[in-house]
Symmetry: D2
Subunit: 80 residues, 4 copies
């Protein structure tokens, strides 16, 4: 193990390489996700709306309902 | 003042319109900034490096020096 | 005007300072916007919903209506 | 297969569920990455500098060298 400026080179390298491997896997998954959206688009689905659906399904049902109701109240108050 | 669902429409509208005006001004400034970068690029400057300079100048001198020194130590420890 | 490494220092400084001034004004506006949201929250408005309203008002009416209708179709198809 | 508003519910559900599974795996990897940084921090490494190292190692060596040289030129031109 070589130390440069008090830094354990091997430990540093090990951390960096672990991060890089995980980042690569994460980037591959991000590419997979883009591909599913693209495949869905090719079948005629609207990607923007799909993203909204994914976001809405992350919320619990009562929280989502509450937000939708409040949004409606605000929209009516503004005459939208 | 009309109330819809307990919401004071006029107050709501006033908040929304204030935000929209500020957002517009902010968007105009963002466009101005892009234009200065673009003008600098037209004169031969490298935009990516200009952005780094702007970021570095936000830090105080000793903090910046410390970070640069530490980065050098890590790079040497990794043989970069 | 001093040139370092073929770089016109004065021109560089002038570009950087213009960018910094614009960035400062932009940051001030961002702070103003946060403050209006915070004031609205203090009056009882829901900040998350306000942000949705601001986003929806940026779209033109027919585009917004179309998106809302499509979202409803997808939600019903999923039994949401 | 149920169709609602001309939408094939089963296909829609299948796309959404594939995306959700991939998003979950991606979120788990993001948590793993944060954990490695946190472990490195616990060993005494500076997370901000580690992130810079990871970013720099993504670039090819000559490109990185070129950027560092140019940054030095600009800094000297500004007396930094």
């Amino acid at each position: 193990m070589t130390d440069v400026g008090g830094i354990a080179g091997d430990r540093l390298r090990s951390f960096i390489e672990r991060i890089e491997r995980l980042e690569e896997e994460k980037a591959a998954l991000a590419a997979d996700i883009r591909e599913v959206y693209s495949e869905a688009k090719g079948t005629g689905f609207d990607v923007k709306i799909l993203r909204q659906i994914v976001r809405l399904r992350k919320m619990d049902v009562s929280e989502r309902q509450e937000q939708e109701d409040l949004l409606d109240v605000y929209k009516r108050a503004l005459g939208m």
